[in-house]
Symmetry: C3
Amino acid sequence: MAEHAAARLHLSGLCFFLQLLTIVLFATFVRYSPESSNLCSTEPSCSQRDPSPTLGYPRFRDAHLRALLGFGFLLAFLSRYGVGSVAGSLLIVAFTIQWAILAQGLFYFSQNSKIYVSTQSMVSADFCTAAILISTGAVLGRVNPIQMLLMALLEVPLFACNEYILRSHLGVSDSGGSLTIHTFGAYFGLTVSRVLHQPHKDKRKEQQDVGHQHDVFAVVGTICLWIFWPSFASATTTHDSAEPWAVLNLYFSLSASTLATFVLSPILYEEGTLQVAQLQDATLASAAVMGMAGEMLSTPFGALTAGFLASQLSLLGSRFLSPILRSRLKTEDTCGVHNVHGLPGILGTFLGILLAALALSLLGSRLQLVFPLVADSSRTTTEQAQWQLCGLLITLLLAASGGVITGVLLRMKVLRSPPEGNEVESKVLREVDEDGCDRGASSEERGTVA
Amino acid sequence: MAEHAAARLHLSGLCFFLQLLTIVLFATFVRYSPESSNLCSTEPSCSQRDPSPTLGYPRFRDAHLRALLGFGFLLAFLSRYGVGSVAGSLLIVAFTIQWAILAQGLFYFSQNSKIYVSTQSMVSADFCTAAILISTGAVLGRVNPIQMLLMALLEVPLFACNEYILRSHLGVSDSGGSLTIHTFGAYFGLTVSRVLHQPHKDKRKEQQDVGHQHDVFAVVGTICLWIFWPSFASATTTHDSAEPWAVLNLYFSLSASTLATFVLSPILYEEGTLQVAQLQDATLASAAVMGMAGEMLSTPFGALTAGFLASQLSLLGSRFLSPILRSRLKTEDTCGVHNVHGLPGILGTFLGILLAALALSLLGSRLQLVFPLVADSSRTTTEQAQWQLCGLLITLLLAASGGVITGVLLRMKVLRSPPEGNEVESKVLREVDEDGCDRGASSEERGTVA
Amino acid sequence: MAEHAAARLHLSGLCFFLQLLTIVLFATFVRYSPESSNLCSTEPSCSQRDPSPTLGYPRFRDAHLRALLGFGFLLAFLSRYGVGSVAGSLLIVAFTIQWAILAQGLFYFSQNSKIYVSTQSMVSADFCTAAILISTGAVLGRVNPIQMLLMALLEVPLFACNEYILRSHLGVSDSGGSLTIHTFGAYFGLTVSRVLHQPHKDKRKEQQDVGHQHDVFAVVGTICLWIFWPSFASATTTHDSAEPWAVLNLYFSLSASTLATFVLSPILYEEGTLQVAQLQDATLASAAVMGMAGEMLSTPFGALTAGFLASQLSLLGSRFLSPILRSRLKTEDTCGVHNVHGLPGILGTFLGILLAALALSLLGSRLQLVFPLVADSSRTTTEQAQWQLCGLLITLLLAASGGVITGVLLRMKVLRSPPEGNEVESKVLREVDEDGCDRGASSEERGTVA
């Protein structure tokens, strides 16, 4: 009982400390961007001259959707973990947004030792939140909220660092985050999951029936992703006029990927009933594959093909690769993050590399927007393709090494859940553990090859 | 067992074939519209001169909501069919979007034997998806996924054809689709349902209790429709400045229709408890009635009255007309499509005809936007009203004849579900059948006249 | 049985009468605003000269979200009252929107004895709906639909009157409605609840288990509020370029408030499991506190601090104040309206007063937008702060006196539910009563101090 009360107070104290810390750091360093206050009203005639306030509005609109992706992911997990996990995920979202503003501000927004935030920084912070939630999906069910908070605390700066290297130093074009979000988030989480592997403890409980409620979440989550992801994916392309391609490509990819699920799923799984969760995975995979290539693809059929392949890859991965990962590599992937974000993210990156190499012949007048360095003749298309590949390697390296360090830190005795013998574990800590019946893994076990 | 496995592989094979077909057709014919790539960045000063990128943005935004209507409908069905039907509906949505781009492209977007797609074509494709989902609602529970796919395959070109005749040849003004979406979709589906009628097989199972889960969907679906329909309805009006009227009229119509449900429902149904599904029906009916008249109505009280009448019509129809349809006309209307889309759609068309005849005195300076042909003096208002009426007749004719042909094709032996005696039917095919406990019909049976 | 049928017909008749009344009043007084029809098409070159159609579009977009806040609240209640209450709430929403257009039109939009409506009036009507729903939350479970309709009938004009005095006469800046919506709605409802108190009747039934379904609504409601509130809150700021601050402040406030819930909740409640409903309360509280101060705060850390405090205040209030309210003041607060809207609304107002006093040094060039009277030098910042305080007192006075009058009227014999002895009560009237298991109150009772 004492341990149980202590664990609850530890979480409470940690949250208090972190919130205090961010408030102090915000008070010291963070200011609103002065650009958002050069207002028309002071110079009454400027609305004719300066179209930027109007142009800025839709971008702010996209920022207002920033929470959506996070919640889309959240709902994706909900379908596997139930209402019990929502509190933990909300905790991560609320903390990560504040922390990402600070971490990314250090790289991007600092002037005169101040971080100037605008709607654009909120969008960046949300991208970061998405990556952290992907990583959380790989370890959900085996870490307690304190460990989740610490993982976010460590992953956020690394994410910002990786993003900064790729975007600003290597000139990698990755507007939708195939590399920076999906690949980084998935492999960081998987490495942490591998390091946290404990032979004796990981004998998972029997699957309890998760019931219909989870299907409700899967349906709502799938719909949410279908509807809002396209506009989210286009929120960081810096040029308004290029957005339609990224969005249209994503739509085409989504529809092909959904249809493709109906092709392979009845072949792979005896049971035959297509689960809504598989459609959700297809939706996520098609978004991951379009992250980098979305604004490079100049024909709709390319998007259809990519979506089709991503969905097949994700289904095949969850059928054949996940059991190998679990038994041989001792990496428990609770929410199927590897099949849904990792593999499609890498597929998307290779597609992006291919398209970068062909950019001159395909993109035409859009070249300036997608690959400014190529358009400026400071790079050839081959060099751009090499840098894109280089970005993949750096991302994998940083994700893996960061994951190892984080995993080792999280294994520290003091952070672990109260010992197993203790029946009256803290409910705050326990709920994530107990609700943890990974449907993703179970659906593979139930279905035998047709 | 062999049949069961075969049925599953048939669906898988059909999906594969259709996806391959659309990829090949897209590769051959579909390109992104060149207009979306004449970018400002190549001429740095054009943002001052050319306001179109900014103006185009909100339209793209509306396109991003394209999936919503489809899912609104989907949720409407969910409340009657449960999670089991969502996979089938998603399959239809994913296929229809791709197919509609091709079919509508043949009529609208073809230049140099290429189809140029833009966000506008996505919006059109989504309108088509809405009509297909309405038709699906009339036969849901008695067709298998293969039949649903084939119905979509046949209905999409017919929808595109009808829309093309009405808009481009007859000059009918129908921005929200009272005729092209609601009336066409409802009567096409009802005709198919009539042709599919099989005297011996249609002894429906007893109503199983659908439980609370369906209410959850009805609530979420109603909310979704309330929130997003107005902006969807205005997505195809070609003039930005006229949109507010269509949207405001729809809002007024929604609120009057919701209030009106509380007037008639307690009188018609003994039970007294107003079901959320009835409110959902009222929401859909008020949208159907505003489809054509939304941008023509120049006073809010007209919208209030129309919403009030649409809700009453829908309730009276489901109370008195549906039983007659079922017993006398042998037309099973599983989701109440006739009361919610058919009747209000026709009511909306008559309202549109009336308003067209009065256009000169009511619309004033908006005439140019709503009836360009009348404003150009190439038509009188009476002629415009006659053409609107003519549009109704053509729509009904095309819907009915297309429905008969489709129904006859779907009755072919090879397409039907495995024989009834077979216990171990394929779950893929079965789920839609078994979940099919039509609450719409049942609510009428349970309630006796007060 | 006779009474039961009569009660149902009373509701039906009242709805019919009210709908007829609004239709007649709309036909007589309400017209669309002529501004929304001065279209570009009549003068083909005006799009270059007049940027207003473009600027107007996003505002219309916000209007399209008007229903959202209402439904956010609705979902908030759903998590406590279940599907049964949704019909009643929709009835209130549908009626209030129409009635508020009329009531607010009398104060704001009347010219030549006509009320001109535009998207802006829809936004105002929606703000009013929000306040009515807050009040409803305080009495939900103890009034029947007829009483709820009459309460809305009386509260709407009073809300419009209070808003008019504060905005137009006192020059109070309250764009997000800390005062006009949250404080007014909460204290009006609480006063009605106090007057309706009946010693013998209020012995509430035992708590029935509300089950998991309500958690689903709490999750969806919380997500809905997280995502859409910011843009709603900024819908009535009259200047486009100032919106980002209000929105960004709200986001920061939301995230701090969510994190803060994890600090205090484990300390206050033994049980330890953080309920999603508490996170929802924190979300609502952080929005209430930012209502007035949102566009005045010039630094993000202020928003973080305010959100942190609002969440703590709401939690402490529900732990320690609600029992006192119930036992000593005999005021049943069914949905915890006092802690979620009342207290944070007052906290937000005091924050607004403080910021108004410091406006000169903090706001700089934005002063013109937030406090036009101060910028025009017709007021000092101290005077502005005094007027803001004065607005608080007037709001409390009007809410309390209006609540007393409404409560006394609602206690009239003829309006009460059929007598308790009658078993076969009308289901329309009963459902709200019986479903009424207030989780808000119960969660306090279950949890004992740690």
